[in-house]
Protein backbone atom coordinates (compact mmCIF):
# COMPACT_ATOMS: atom_id res chain seq x y z
CA UNK A 1 0.00 0.00 0.00
CA UNK A 2 1.29 3.43 -0.91
CA UNK A 3 2.11 5.63 2.05
CA UNK A 4 3.13 9.27 2.19
CA UNK A 5 4.90 11.10 4.99
CA UNK A 6 3.17 14.18 6.43
CA UNK A 7 5.95 16.55 7.51
CA UNK A 8 3.83 18.79 9.76
CA UNK A 9 1.70 16.05 11.30
CA UNK A 10 4.90 14.01 11.80
CA UNK A 11 3.35 10.73 10.71
CA UNK A 12 2.71 8.77 7.53
CA UNK A 13 -0.67 7.84 6.11
CA UNK A 14 -2.08 5.45 3.54
CA UNK A 15 -2.67 7.55 0.42
CA UNK A 16 -5.83 5.67 -0.67
CA UNK A 17 -7.38 5.79 2.79
CA UNK A 18 -7.04 9.57 3.04
CA UNK A 19 -8.20 10.00 -0.56
CA UNK A 20 -11.31 7.92 0.25
CA UNK A 21 -11.94 9.85 3.46
CA UNK A 22 -11.76 13.11 1.49
CA UNK A 23 -14.17 11.73 -1.08
CA UNK A 24 -16.71 10.70 1.56
CA UNK A 25 -16.65 14.03 3.41
CA UNK A 26 -16.69 15.93 0.09
CA UNK A 27 -19.80 14.00 -0.90
CA UNK A 28 -21.57 15.09 2.31
CA UNK A 29 -20.38 18.63 1.70
CA UNK A 30 -21.84 18.70 -1.82
CA UNK A 31 -25.14 17.19 -0.69
CA UNK A 32 -25.77 19.21 2.46
CA UNK A 33 -23.61 22.32 2.19
CA UNK A 34 -21.67 21.55 5.35
CA UNK A 35 -17.88 21.68 5.63
CA UNK A 36 -17.76 18.31 7.35
CA UNK A 37 -15.10 19.34 9.87
CA UNK A 38 -17.16 17.86 12.70
CA UNK A 39 -16.68 14.43 11.04
CA UNK A 40 -13.25 14.83 9.45
CA UNK A 41 -11.28 16.03 12.48
CA UNK A 42 -12.15 13.04 14.72
CA UNK A 43 -11.58 10.62 11.82
CA UNK A 44 -8.12 12.05 11.11
CA UNK A 45 -7.27 11.82 14.81
CA UNK A 46 -8.14 8.11 14.62
CA UNK A 47 -5.43 7.74 11.95
CA UNK A 48 -2.77 9.26 14.19
CA UNK A 49 -2.88 12.92 13.13
CA UNK A 50 -2.50 15.39 16.03
CA UNK A 51 -5.82 17.20 16.68
CA UNK A 52 -4.55 20.72 15.94
CA UNK A 53 -3.01 19.61 12.62
CA UNK A 54 -6.16 17.63 11.74
CA UNK A 55 -8.43 20.66 12.24
CA UNK A 56 -6.18 23.15 10.41
CA UNK A 57 -5.40 20.87 7.44
CA UNK A 58 -9.10 20.05 7.17
CA UNK A 59 -9.95 23.73 6.78
CA UNK A 60 -7.39 23.92 3.96
CA UNK A 61 -9.07 20.94 2.34
CA UNK A 62 -12.54 22.52 2.74
CA UNK A 63 -11.29 25.49 0.69
CA UNK A 64 -10.87 23.12 -2.26
CA UNK A 65 -14.07 21.15 -1.71
CA UNK A 66 -16.23 24.24 -1.26
CA UNK A 67 -14.69 25.90 -4.36
CA UNK A 68 -15.63 22.81 -6.34
CA UNK A 69 -19.07 22.60 -4.68
CA UNK A 70 -19.84 26.33 -5.00
CA UNK A 71 -18.96 26.21 -8.69
CA UNK A 72 -21.27 23.25 -9.26
CA UNK A 73 -24.12 24.87 -7.31
CA UNK A 74 -23.59 28.21 -9.04
CA UNK A 75 -24.21 26.52 -12.39
CA UNK A 76 -27.52 25.27 -11.00
CA UNK A 77 -28.40 28.81 -9.85
CA UNK A 78 -28.26 27.78 -6.17
CA UNK A 79 -25.94 30.46 -4.77
CA UNK A 80 -27.40 33.67 -3.32
CA UNK A 81 -24.27 35.81 -3.29
CA UNK A 82 -25.65 38.92 -1.48
CA UNK A 83 -27.12 36.68 1.22
CA UNK A 84 -23.86 34.75 1.49
CA UNK A 85 -21.85 37.97 1.82
CA UNK A 86 -24.07 39.30 4.64
CA UNK A 87 -23.88 35.98 6.52
CA UNK A 88 -20.13 35.93 6.00
CA UNK A 89 -19.60 39.45 7.39
CA UNK A 90 -21.77 38.55 10.37
CA UNK A 91 -19.95 35.25 10.81
CA UNK A 92 -16.49 36.86 10.88
CA UNK A 93 -17.66 39.46 13.43
CA UNK A 94 -19.40 36.78 15.51
CA UNK A 95 -16.26 34.65 15.42
CA UNK A 96 -14.20 37.48 16.92
CA UNK A 97 -16.81 37.95 19.67
CA UNK A 98 -16.88 34.17 20.30
CA UNK A 99 -13.10 34.04 20.75
CA UNK A 100 -13.35 36.76 23.43
CA UNK A 101 -16.17 34.88 25.18
CA UNK A 102 -14.02 31.74 25.24
CA UNK A 103 -11.18 33.74 26.84
CA UNK A 104 -13.51 34.96 29.60
CA UNK A 105 -14.92 31.45 30.14
CA UNK A 106 -11.41 29.98 30.33
CA UNK A 107 -10.43 32.57 32.93
CA UNK A 108 -13.53 31.57 34.90
CA UNK A 109 -12.41 27.96 34.68
CA UNK A 110 -15.50 26.23 33.33
CA UNK A 111 -15.00 26.66 29.58
CA UNK A 112 -14.73 22.97 28.69
CA UNK A 113 -17.95 22.14 30.49
CA UNK A 114 -19.89 24.93 28.78
CA UNK A 115 -18.43 24.04 25.37
CA UNK A 116 -19.48 20.40 25.71
CA UNK A 117 -22.97 21.35 26.90
CA UNK A 118 -23.38 23.89 24.07
CA UNK A 119 -22.29 21.21 21.62
CA UNK A 120 -24.74 18.57 22.79
CA UNK A 121 -27.68 20.98 23.11
CA UNK A 122 -27.03 22.57 19.71
CA UNK A 123 -26.56 19.26 17.90
CA UNK A 124 -29.46 17.58 19.69
CA UNK A 125 -31.81 20.54 19.34
CA UNK A 126 -31.03 21.37 15.71
CA UNK A 127 -30.90 17.71 14.63
CA UNK A 128 -34.05 16.76 16.53
CA UNK A 129 -36.10 19.68 15.22
CA UNK A 130 -34.96 19.20 11.62
CA UNK A 131 -35.67 15.49 11.80
CA UNK A 132 -39.18 15.97 13.21
CA UNK A 133 -40.03 18.81 10.84
CA UNK A 134 -38.85 17.06 7.68
CA UNK A 135 -40.62 13.87 8.76
CA UNK A 136 -43.87 15.86 8.88
CA UNK A 137 -43.03 17.28 5.46
CA UNK A 138 -42.39 13.82 4.00
CA UNK A 139 -45.71 12.55 5.37
CA UNK A 140 -47.51 15.54 3.91
CA UNK A 141 -45.90 15.22 0.49
CA UNK A 142 -46.99 11.58 0.34
CA UNK A 143 -50.61 12.72 0.50
CA UNK A 144 -50.24 15.76 -1.73
CA UNK A 145 -46.89 15.97 -3.53
CA UNK A 146 -45.67 19.57 -3.25
CA UNK A 147 -42.06 20.55 -4.01
CA UNK A 148 -39.80 22.70 -1.87
CA UNK A 149 -42.21 24.59 0.41
CA UNK A 150 -42.36 22.45 3.52
CA UNK A 151 -41.60 25.41 5.77
CA UNK A 152 -44.77 27.01 7.13
CA UNK A 153 -45.43 30.68 6.39
CA UNK A 154 -44.24 33.00 9.15
CA UNK A 155 -47.15 34.43 11.13
CA UNK A 156 -48.27 38.01 10.58
CA UNK A 157 -46.92 39.41 13.86
CA UNK A 158 -43.41 38.27 13.04
CA UNK A 159 -43.66 39.47 9.47
CA UNK A 160 -44.57 43.01 10.38
CA UNK A 161 -41.75 43.26 12.94
CA UNK A 162 -39.22 41.97 10.42
CA UNK A 163 -40.59 44.31 7.74
CA UNK A 164 -40.09 47.32 10.00
CA UNK A 165 -36.31 46.79 10.06
CA UNK A 166 -34.26 49.21 7.90
CA UNK A 167 -32.16 48.25 4.83
CA UNK A 168 -34.78 46.05 3.15
CA UNK A 169 -33.28 44.16 0.20
CA UNK A 170 -34.66 41.74 -2.34
CA UNK A 171 -32.60 38.54 -2.20
CA UNK A 172 -33.59 37.22 -5.63
CA UNK A 173 -32.20 33.67 -5.46
CA UNK A 174 -33.63 33.13 -1.99
CA UNK A 175 -36.96 34.57 -3.15
CA UNK A 176 -37.45 36.89 -0.18
CA UNK A 177 -37.36 40.59 0.60
CA UNK A 178 -35.94 41.18 4.07
CA UNK A 179 -33.69 43.57 5.92
CA UNK A 180 -29.97 43.05 5.40
CA UNK A 181 -29.61 43.25 9.18
CA UNK A 182 -31.36 39.90 9.50
CA UNK A 183 -28.73 37.69 7.80
CA UNK A 184 -26.03 39.86 9.39
CA UNK A 185 -27.46 39.23 12.86
CA UNK A 186 -27.86 35.50 12.29
CA UNK A 187 -24.34 35.39 10.87
CA UNK A 188 -23.03 36.92 14.11
CA UNK A 189 -24.99 34.37 16.16
CA UNK A 190 -23.60 31.43 14.18
CA UNK A 191 -20.09 32.95 14.28
CA UNK A 192 -20.21 33.17 18.08
CA UNK A 193 -21.46 29.59 18.44
CA UNK A 194 -18.95 28.25 15.91
CA UNK A 195 -16.03 29.95 17.66
CA UNK A 196 -17.14 28.63 21.08
CA UNK A 197 -17.59 25.11 19.73
CA UNK A 198 -14.43 25.27 17.62
CA UNK A 199 -16.17 24.23 14.39
CA UNK A 200 -16.82 25.85 11.00
CA UNK A 201 -20.50 26.23 11.78
CA UNK A 202 -21.97 24.81 8.54
CA UNK A 203 -24.36 22.55 10.36
CA UNK A 204 -25.71 25.50 12.42
CA UNK A 205 -25.75 27.88 9.44
CA UNK A 206 -27.81 25.51 7.27
CA UNK A 207 -30.74 25.21 9.75
CA UNK A 208 -30.59 28.99 10.38
CA UNK A 209 -31.01 29.63 6.65
CA UNK A 210 -33.76 27.04 6.32
CA UNK A 211 -35.85 27.90 9.36
CA UNK A 212 -35.04 31.48 10.30
CA UNK A 213 -34.35 33.02 6.88
CA UNK A 214 -36.80 30.61 5.17
CA UNK A 215 -34.63 30.12 2.11
CA UNK A 216 -35.30 27.22 -0.29
CA UNK A 217 -33.21 24.18 0.71
CA UNK A 218 -31.22 23.95 -2.52
CA UNK A 219 -30.23 27.61 -2.37
CA UNK A 220 -29.27 27.08 1.29
CA UNK A 221 -26.77 24.37 0.32
CA UNK A 222 -25.12 26.46 -2.42
CA UNK A 223 -25.02 29.66 -0.34
CA UNK A 224 -23.65 27.83 2.68
CA UNK A 225 -20.78 26.42 0.60
CA UNK A 226 -20.02 29.88 -0.78
CA UNK A 227 -19.84 31.25 2.75
CA UNK A 228 -17.76 28.32 4.09
CA UNK A 229 -15.20 28.84 1.29
CA UNK A 230 -14.26 32.29 2.58
CA UNK A 231 -14.33 31.30 6.25
CA UNK A 232 -11.89 28.45 5.56
CA UNK A 233 -9.54 30.60 3.44
CA UNK A 234 -9.24 32.87 6.46
CA UNK A 235 -8.71 29.98 8.92
CA UNK A 236 -6.08 28.28 6.71
CA UNK A 237 -3.95 31.41 6.40
CA UNK A 238 -4.27 32.28 10.11
CA UNK A 239 -3.42 28.72 11.23
CA UNK A 240 -0.42 28.50 8.88
CA UNK A 241 0.85 31.87 10.00
CA UNK A 242 0.47 31.67 13.75
CA UNK A 243 0.41 27.96 14.64
CA UNK A 244 2.19 26.12 11.76
CA UNK A 245 -0.54 23.47 11.89
CA UNK A 246 -1.51 23.18 8.20
CA UNK A 247 -0.07 19.98 6.73
CA UNK A 248 -0.01 20.66 3.04
CA UNK A 249 0.56 17.02 1.99
CA UNK A 250 -2.42 15.89 4.07
CA UNK A 251 -4.60 18.71 2.72
CA UNK A 252 -3.75 17.89 -0.92
CA UNK A 253 -4.54 14.19 -0.42
CA UNK A 254 -7.90 15.05 1.17
CA UNK A 255 -8.52 17.70 -1.44
CA UNK A 256 -8.17 15.36 -4.42
CA UNK A 257 -10.86 13.16 -2.90
CA UNK A 258 -13.16 15.86 -1.59
CA UNK A 259 -13.30 18.04 -4.73
CA UNK A 260 -14.51 15.01 -6.70
CA UNK A 261 -16.83 14.02 -3.84
CA UNK A 262 -18.35 17.53 -3.80
CA UNK A 263 -19.22 17.30 -7.50
CA UNK A 264 -20.86 13.90 -7.06
CA UNK A 265 -22.61 15.22 -3.95
CA UNK A 266 -24.09 18.15 -5.87
CA UNK A 267 -25.46 15.77 -8.49
CA UNK A 268 -26.98 13.62 -5.73
CA UNK A 269 -28.40 16.71 -4.01
CA UNK A 270 -30.19 17.69 -7.24
CA UNK A 271 -32.08 14.39 -7.30
CA UNK A 272 -33.34 14.62 -3.72
CA UNK A 273 -36.23 16.80 -2.55
CA UNK A 274 -35.88 19.30 0.30
CA UNK A 275 -37.38 17.06 3.00
CA UNK A 276 -35.23 14.09 2.05
CA UNK A 277 -32.15 16.33 2.22
CA UNK A 278 -33.15 17.75 5.59
CA UNK A 279 -33.95 14.40 7.18
CA UNK A 280 -30.59 12.99 6.06
CA UNK A 281 -28.66 15.96 7.44
CA UNK A 282 -30.70 15.76 10.66
CA UNK A 283 -29.81 12.07 11.06
CA UNK A 284 -26.14 12.88 10.57
CA UNK A 285 -26.23 15.67 13.15
CA UNK A 286 -28.08 13.42 15.65
CA UNK A 287 -25.49 10.68 15.08
CA UNK A 288 -22.63 13.08 15.93
CA UNK A 289 -24.62 14.23 18.98
CA UNK A 290 -25.09 10.62 20.16
CA UNK A 291 -21.36 9.96 19.74
CA UNK A 292 -20.53 13.06 21.82
CA UNK A 293 -23.00 12.02 24.51
CA UNK A 294 -21.47 8.53 24.65
CA UNK A 295 -18.01 10.07 25.00
CA UNK A 296 -19.18 12.21 27.89
CA UNK A 297 -21.03 9.43 29.73
CA UNK A 298 -18.73 6.42 29.33
CA UNK A 299 -15.73 5.95 31.61
CA UNK A 300 -12.63 6.60 29.48
CA UNK A 301 -10.08 3.79 29.06
CA UNK A 302 -7.17 6.23 29.28
CA UNK A 303 -7.48 8.97 31.87
CA UNK A 304 -5.26 11.55 30.15
CA UNK A 305 -5.34 13.18 26.72
CA UNK A 306 -2.79 15.31 24.89
CA UNK A 307 -3.71 18.95 25.32
CA UNK A 308 -5.27 20.49 22.21
CA UNK A 309 -7.68 17.65 21.53
CA UNK A 310 -11.33 17.46 22.56
Amino acid sequence: MLHMYLPIAGNSVNVFLIFGLGGFVGLLSGIFGVGGGFLMTPLLMMFGIPPTVAAASDSNQIVGASTSGTLAHMRLGNVDIPMGVMLLIGGVGGGAIGVQIIKILKAMGNADFLIAITYVIMLGGVGGYMFWESLQGLKKSKNAPAEESSAPEPNDGKKSLVQKLPLQYKFAKSGCEISMLLPLGFGILVGILAAIMGVGGGFIMVPVMVYLLRMPMHVVVGTSLFQILFTCVNVTILQSYSNHTVDFVLAVLLLLGSTIGAQVGTAVSKRLNADQLKIMLASLVLLVCAKMMAGLLMTPTIMVALKGGH
Binding site: Y5, T67, T236, V249, L306
Partner: protein
Protein backbone atom coordinates in the same frame (compact mmCIF):
# COMPACT_ATOMS: atom_id res chain seq x y z
CA UNK B 1 81.56 4.83 24.51
CA UNK B 2 79.97 2.10 22.46
CA UNK B 3 79.37 0.05 25.62
CA UNK B 4 77.59 3.01 27.19
CA UNK B 5 75.50 3.44 24.06
CA UNK B 6 74.49 -0.23 24.14
CA UNK B 7 73.40 0.09 27.77
CA UNK B 8 71.29 3.14 26.87
CA UNK B 9 69.72 1.23 23.98
CA UNK B 10 68.86 -1.69 26.23
CA UNK B 11 67.37 0.63 28.84
CA UNK B 12 65.32 2.39 26.19
CA UNK B 13 64.15 -0.89 24.75
CA UNK B 14 63.24 -2.15 28.22
CA UNK B 15 61.29 1.06 28.90
CA UNK B 16 59.38 0.73 25.66
CA UNK B 17 58.53 -2.87 26.52
CA UNK B 18 57.18 -1.79 29.91
CA UNK B 19 55.07 0.98 28.31
CA UNK B 20 53.75 -1.42 25.69
CA UNK B 21 52.95 -4.06 28.31
CA UNK B 22 51.16 -1.62 30.57
CA UNK B 23 49.19 -0.24 27.61
CA UNK B 24 48.19 -3.79 26.69
CA UNK B 25 47.18 -4.45 30.31
CA UNK B 26 45.20 -1.19 30.42
CA UNK B 27 43.53 -2.17 27.18
CA UNK B 28 42.43 -5.56 28.41
CA UNK B 29 41.24 -4.16 31.73
CA UNK B 30 39.23 -1.44 29.84
CA UNK B 31 37.74 -4.18 27.69
CA UNK B 32 36.90 -6.17 30.83
CA UNK B 33 35.07 -3.15 32.29
CA UNK B 34 33.28 -2.49 28.99
CA UNK B 35 32.87 -5.88 27.47
CA UNK B 36 29.99 -4.73 25.31
CA UNK B 37 30.21 -3.66 21.70
CA UNK B 38 27.32 -2.13 19.74
CA UNK B 39 26.94 -1.37 16.03
CA UNK B 40 23.99 0.25 14.21
CA UNK B 41 23.47 -0.83 10.59
CA UNK B 42 22.58 2.79 9.84
CA UNK B 43 23.12 5.77 12.14
CA UNK B 44 21.16 8.20 9.96
CA UNK B 45 17.63 7.49 8.78
CA UNK B 46 16.21 9.72 6.06
CA UNK B 47 12.53 10.64 6.03
CA UNK B 48 11.56 11.14 2.39
CA UNK B 49 8.22 11.54 0.55
CA UNK B 50 7.00 7.93 0.75
CA UNK B 51 8.54 7.10 4.15
CA UNK B 52 6.36 4.87 6.32
CA UNK B 53 8.60 4.03 9.26
CA UNK B 54 11.39 1.49 8.94
CA UNK B 55 13.48 -1.01 10.88
CA UNK B 56 17.06 -0.80 12.06
CA UNK B 57 19.37 -3.79 12.57
CA UNK B 58 21.75 -3.60 15.51
CA UNK B 59 24.50 -6.07 16.38
CA UNK B 60 27.14 -6.42 19.07
CA UNK B 61 29.04 -8.73 21.38
CA UNK B 62 29.03 -9.25 25.16
CA UNK B 63 30.37 -11.75 27.76
CA UNK B 64 28.77 -15.17 27.26
CA UNK B 65 27.20 -15.28 30.73
CA UNK B 66 25.50 -11.84 30.48
CA UNK B 67 22.22 -10.79 28.86
CA UNK B 68 21.81 -7.86 26.48
CA UNK B 69 19.06 -5.24 26.86
CA UNK B 70 18.60 -2.38 24.39
CA UNK B 71 16.77 0.89 25.02
CA UNK B 72 15.94 3.52 22.42
CA UNK B 73 15.01 6.94 23.74
CA UNK B 74 14.90 10.56 22.73
CA UNK B 75 14.28 13.78 22.54
CA UNK B 76 13.14 14.90 25.97
CA UNK B 77 10.39 17.51 26.19
CA UNK B 78 7.63 18.79 28.45
CA UNK B 79 4.33 17.07 27.73
CA UNK B 80 1.11 18.98 28.42
CA UNK B 81 -1.85 16.79 29.25
CA UNK B 82 -5.47 17.05 30.28
CA UNK B 83 -6.51 14.68 33.02
CA UNK B 84 -10.07 13.45 32.69
CA UNK B 85 -12.46 13.88 35.54
CA UNK B 86 -16.16 13.92 36.28
CA UNK B 87 -18.06 17.18 35.90
CA UNK B 88 -21.49 17.62 37.50
CA UNK B 89 -21.14 14.08 38.85
CA UNK B 90 -21.67 12.17 35.60
CA UNK B 91 -19.95 13.81 32.62
CA UNK B 92 -16.40 12.67 31.79
CA UNK B 93 -14.40 15.62 30.55
CA UNK B 94 -10.84 16.88 30.23
CA UNK B 95 -10.76 18.50 33.63
CA UNK B 96 -7.29 19.24 34.99
CA UNK B 97 -4.09 20.50 33.36
CA UNK B 98 -1.01 18.41 34.14
CA UNK B 99 2.49 18.53 32.63
CA UNK B 100 5.16 15.84 32.63
CA UNK B 101 8.53 17.54 32.43
CA UNK B 102 11.62 16.05 30.78
CA UNK B 103 9.74 13.15 29.22
CA UNK B 104 11.22 11.31 26.22
CA UNK B 105 9.08 11.45 23.07
CA UNK B 106 10.16 7.89 22.25
CA UNK B 107 11.03 5.06 24.63
CA UNK B 108 11.43 1.45 23.52
CA UNK B 109 13.01 -1.48 25.32
CA UNK B 110 14.21 -4.68 23.63
CA UNK B 111 14.88 -7.76 25.79
CA UNK B 112 15.95 -11.37 25.16
CA UNK B 113 13.44 -14.22 25.52
CA UNK B 114 12.26 -14.99 29.04
CA UNK B 115 12.15 -13.19 32.38
CA UNK B 116 11.63 -9.73 30.92
CA UNK B 117 10.42 -8.48 34.31
CA UNK B 118 13.92 -9.13 35.65
CA UNK B 119 15.30 -6.56 33.21
CA UNK B 120 12.58 -3.94 33.67
CA UNK B 121 14.15 -2.89 36.91
CA UNK B 122 14.56 0.71 38.12
CA UNK B 123 17.91 -0.28 39.66
CA UNK B 124 19.20 -1.20 36.21
CA UNK B 125 17.75 2.03 34.82
CA UNK B 126 15.52 0.09 32.43
CA UNK B 127 11.74 0.23 31.93
CA UNK B 128 8.91 2.64 32.63
CA UNK B 129 9.47 2.57 36.41
CA UNK B 130 13.04 3.73 35.87
CA UNK B 131 11.86 6.40 33.45
CA UNK B 132 9.33 7.90 35.86
CA UNK B 133 12.11 8.65 38.38
CA UNK B 134 13.69 11.15 35.99
CA UNK B 135 10.42 12.95 35.27
CA UNK B 136 8.92 15.85 37.19
CA UNK B 137 5.20 16.61 37.31
CA UNK B 138 3.44 19.96 37.41
CA UNK B 139 1.45 20.57 39.61
CA UNK B 140 3.49 18.62 42.16
CA UNK B 141 0.29 17.60 43.98
CA UNK B 142 -0.71 15.37 41.03
CA UNK B 143 -0.20 11.59 41.22
CA UNK B 144 2.95 11.20 39.10
CA UNK B 145 2.96 7.38 38.86
CA UNK B 146 -0.71 7.29 37.81
CA UNK B 147 -0.50 10.11 35.28
CA UNK B 148 2.69 8.74 33.76
CA UNK B 149 1.13 5.27 33.61
CA UNK B 150 -1.83 6.65 31.66
CA UNK B 151 0.52 8.61 29.40
CA UNK B 152 2.43 5.38 28.71
CA UNK B 153 -0.86 3.75 27.61
CA UNK B 154 -1.47 6.66 25.25
CA UNK B 155 2.06 6.44 23.80
CA UNK B 156 1.93 2.63 23.51
CA UNK B 157 -1.26 3.03 21.49
CA UNK B 158 0.57 5.48 19.21
CA UNK B 159 3.51 3.02 18.96
CA UNK B 160 6.30 5.24 20.29
CA UNK B 161 6.56 3.57 23.71
CA UNK B 162 7.03 -0.20 23.78
CA UNK B 163 8.56 -3.13 25.62
CA UNK B 164 9.51 -5.73 23.02
CA UNK B 165 10.08 -9.06 24.71
CA UNK B 166 12.13 -11.78 23.10
CA UNK B 167 13.47 -9.49 20.39
CA UNK B 168 17.20 -9.90 21.14
CA UNK B 169 18.76 -12.96 19.52
CA UNK B 170 22.11 -14.51 20.53
CA UNK B 171 24.71 -16.01 18.21
CA UNK B 172 27.48 -18.54 18.87
CA UNK B 173 29.83 -18.25 21.89
CA UNK B 174 33.56 -18.11 21.30
CA UNK B 175 36.33 -17.29 23.84
CA UNK B 176 33.72 -16.43 26.48
CA UNK B 177 32.11 -13.83 24.18
CA UNK B 178 28.78 -14.10 22.38
CA UNK B 179 27.20 -12.02 19.70
CA UNK B 180 23.71 -10.50 19.85
CA UNK B 181 21.43 -8.91 17.28
CA UNK B 182 18.05 -7.22 17.19
CA UNK B 183 15.81 -5.50 14.66
CA UNK B 184 14.55 -2.22 16.07
CA UNK B 185 11.22 -0.77 14.98
CA UNK B 186 11.32 2.84 13.80
CA UNK B 187 7.64 3.90 13.66
CA UNK B 188 6.58 6.68 11.28
CA UNK B 189 5.44 8.73 14.28
CA UNK B 190 9.10 8.96 15.44
CA UNK B 191 9.86 12.47 14.24
CA UNK B 192 13.09 13.98 12.94
CA UNK B 193 15.66 14.44 15.69
CA UNK B 194 18.47 12.77 17.65
CA UNK B 195 17.87 9.56 19.58
CA UNK B 196 20.08 7.33 21.72
CA UNK B 197 20.35 3.58 21.21
CA UNK B 198 21.86 2.11 24.38
CA UNK B 199 22.85 -1.51 24.98
CA UNK B 200 23.37 -2.89 28.48
CA UNK B 201 25.08 -6.10 29.56
CA UNK B 202 23.19 -7.46 32.58
CA UNK B 203 24.66 -10.20 34.74
CA UNK B 204 23.21 -11.35 38.07
CA UNK B 205 21.00 -8.30 38.44
CA UNK B 206 23.76 -5.76 37.82
CA UNK B 207 24.85 -3.80 34.78
CA UNK B 208 28.32 -5.07 33.84
CA UNK B 209 28.74 -3.04 30.69
CA UNK B 210 27.08 -0.36 28.64
CA UNK B 211 27.55 1.18 25.23
CA UNK B 212 25.49 3.73 23.32
CA UNK B 213 25.24 5.10 19.81
CA UNK B 214 23.52 8.17 18.41
CA UNK B 215 20.69 7.64 15.92
CA UNK B 216 19.55 10.59 13.79
CA UNK B 217 16.28 10.88 11.87
CA UNK B 218 16.23 13.69 9.32
CA UNK B 219 13.76 15.09 6.83
CA UNK B 220 14.97 15.09 3.21
CA UNK B 221 13.42 15.98 -0.15
CA UNK B 222 9.78 17.09 -0.29
CA UNK B 223 9.03 16.70 3.46
CA UNK B 224 12.11 18.83 4.24
CA UNK B 225 11.12 21.57 1.74
CA UNK B 226 7.53 21.70 3.01
CA UNK B 227 8.63 21.79 6.63
CA UNK B 228 11.16 24.58 5.93
CA UNK B 229 8.55 26.65 4.12
CA UNK B 230 5.86 26.10 6.80
CA UNK B 231 8.17 27.25 9.60
CA UNK B 232 10.37 29.69 7.67
CA UNK B 233 7.77 31.55 5.57
CA UNK B 234 4.43 30.76 7.26
CA UNK B 235 2.38 33.50 5.57
CA UNK B 236 3.55 32.54 2.09
CA UNK B 237 2.92 28.89 2.98
CA UNK B 238 -0.67 29.64 4.06
CA UNK B 239 -1.43 31.66 0.92
CA UNK B 240 0.14 28.98 -1.27
CA UNK B 241 -1.97 26.28 0.42
CA UNK B 242 -5.15 28.29 -0.21
CA UNK B 243 -4.27 29.06 -3.86
CA UNK B 244 -3.54 25.41 -4.61
CA UNK B 245 -6.76 24.31 -2.88
CA UNK B 246 -8.85 26.80 -4.90
CA UNK B 247 -7.06 25.86 -8.14
CA UNK B 248 -7.71 22.15 -7.53
CA UNK B 249 -11.37 22.89 -6.75
CA UNK B 250 -11.73 24.91 -9.96
CA UNK B 251 -9.94 22.34 -12.13
CA UNK B 252 -12.06 19.46 -10.80
CA UNK B 253 -15.16 21.65 -11.24
CA UNK B 254 -14.29 22.34 -14.89
CA UNK B 255 -13.44 18.68 -15.58
CA UNK B 256 -16.82 17.63 -14.21
CA UNK B 257 -18.60 20.23 -16.28
CA UNK B 258 -16.83 18.91 -19.37
CA UNK B 259 -17.60 15.29 -18.52
CA UNK B 260 -21.13 15.57 -17.22
CA UNK B 261 -22.37 18.81 -18.77
CA UNK B 262 -25.60 17.33 -20.05
CA UNK B 263 -27.97 17.01 -17.09
Amino acid sequence: MSKGKNTMNRLGYGFLMIVAASLAWLGTSWAADNPLSLELANAKIQISTFYDGTTLDVTGTLPAEADAVIQVSGPKKDVHLKQKGKVAGFLWMNKYDVSLENTPAVYMVYTPTGATEKFLNPELGVGYKALVNGIAIEPESADKEFIFGEYVKLMEEAGVYAVNEGTIKYGAVSNGVKSFSATLTIPSLMSAGDYTVEALAVDNGTVTGRNSKKLTLELVGLPASISNLAYGKPLLFGIMAVVIAIATGLIIGVIFKGGGGAH
